[in-house]
């Protein structure tokens, strides 16, 4: 069976649907199956579906080269390595500390620091070194300009927020707060370097322009999400208000109250030692 010939003969729209949008839908669907089912086989199939979806999304830039949307799949393939390193590294650091359950060996802490550090250096290398995600030679993936400023700015904002929260709401959390301030300042330094130092492919002016677009993007996402949550709450509130009031029962009679008192009286007190 000539699969390449079959794929080539497909309509571009159909190709984008089957090889890009369908795999995107497979990821949440697979995760839903794997998390909601009690059957082991459904859980395994769900995980496989999500994993297969991610692989197809990453390959979409080659399977559907005509669709500009598949640049997002290309970006996913490029950043999935450093992102996994960071997430697994932080997991190892967290659970090799003083946790009551699921404690990992102390030696995992060093490995975790190494993995997270390598992940961040890898991402920084995509800005200032030869690792920049490129669709073709010297053509930077446009979604890299969306991902990188959003990630680095929000990390700085959230770390700063977390540091102040630990200081103001926490009890004797100065050391932890200082660690979060350090992360925030580190992210700020990376941002300031990006705003002033050109990489081999990413120019400082492009980064600056996209940084403010990322701010607009995050503000828009916050506004849109809040609006939809408000509408959702309004719909539920309107429906609940339209329901008839629940039936109330008669208050207890004097006889019933007397009986309850007797039962309580019977169970109060205890034997003397």
């Amino acid at each position: 069976m000539n699969i390449q010939g079959f794929v080539d003969s497909m309509d571009e729209m159909l190709k984008a649907f089957l090889l890009f949008w369908l795999p995107i839908a497979m990821v949440p669907l697979g995760l839903w199956f794997s998390m909601s089912s009690r059957s082991k086989s459904t859980t395994t199939n769900g995980r496989f579906l999500a994993f297969f979806g991610i692989i197809l999304i990453c390959l979409s830039t080659w399977t559907v080269p005509s669709s500009p949307s598949t640049a997002a799949g290309h970006l996913l393939g490029a950043i999935i390595g450093p992102c996994m390193l960071i997430i697994i590294g932080i997991y190892l650091i967290s659970f090799s500390g003083n946790v009551p359950v699921g404690k990992l060996p102390r030696s995992d802490r060093r490995l975790g620091v190494l993995m997270s550090g390598a992940g961040f250096v890898w991402l920084a290398g995509m800005h200032w070194w030869i690792l920049t995600p490129q669709l073709s030679p010297d053509e930077v993936n446009p979604y890299w300009y969306v991902f990188w400023p959003t990630f680095i700015l929000l990390t700085s904002c959230l770390a700063s927020c977390s540091a102040v929260t630990l200081l103001t709401l926490g009890d004797r959390r100065r050391a932890e707060s200082n660690a979060m301030f350090f992360v925030s300042v580190l992210s700020m330094i990376i941002l300031l370097l990006g705003l002033n130092i050109d990489g081999p492919l990413v120019q400082a002016d492009d980064f600056r322009e996209n940084l403010w677009l990322a701010v607009a993007d995050m503000a828009g996402i916050a506004a849109g999400s809040l609006l939809s949550i408000l509408v959702f709450a309004f719909v539920i509130y309107t429906y609940e208000r339209s329901l008839p009031p629940p039936k109330t029962i008669e208050p207890p009679t004097a006889l019933e109250l007397e009986r309850v008192s007797a039962v309580i009286q019977h169970h109060l007190g205890g034997e003397e030692e």
Binding site: L75, S94, G97, C157, A159, D217, I221
Partner: protein, 158 residues
């Protein structure tokens, strides 16, 4: 904690969240005398597109959640219909506003191309937001678990 003190704490937390972009703005004004790199037209277009897309996608997600809400209420139709209308409103307003011309069209030639671009853009932004939240929460948790264990007994002794 007193109410005024709590309100002050919330304000401090909000200010801490906004501090990094405000700091960059302050630096820009100090060194360049203006908001360098900000094109208000393009920024507004991005904000509007992000708002419309986030509203529509979030409404779709919440519409799915209504399915589980209905489970405990004998599957009423009224809230489901209400939320379907709210989601349709998002889709239609996105289509309408993008179709008005260059106001919401970024580098795309048609309404459909812009709508698809908005969705893909939202996925990438959401991925970046998800990773940033993971890093911030993870590092906070790591910082807490790396300290020596405390006990209430120690606190009482002090």
């Amino acid at each position: 904690m007193k109410e005024s003190s709590l309100s002050m704490t919330w304000r401090m937390i909000l200010l801490a969240f906004l501090l990094p972009p405000l700091f960059i703005l302050a630096l820009d004004i100090t060194f360049y005398g203006s908001f360098k790199g900000i094109d208000s037209g393009v920024t507004f277009t991005r904000f509007a597109n992000a708002t419309l897309t986030a509203y529509t996608l979030c409404s779709l997600f919440l519409l799915g959640n209504l399915f589980f809400y209905g489970e405990s209420r004998n599957r009423p139709l009224a809230p489901l219909v209400g939320m379907i209308f709210a989601t349709l409103l998002g889709i239609l307003s996105t289509w309408f506003f993008i179709g008005q011309g260059p106001m919401l069209l970024e580098d795309n030639g048609s309404v459909r191309a812009q709508a698809i671009y908005n969705i893909v853009h939202m996925f990438v932004s959401s991925g970046a937001i998800f990773l940033a939240v993971c890093v911030a929460l993870g590092v906070t948790f790591s910082a807490i678990t790396s300290q020596k264990p405390r006990s209430d007994f120690d606190l009482e002794e002090e």
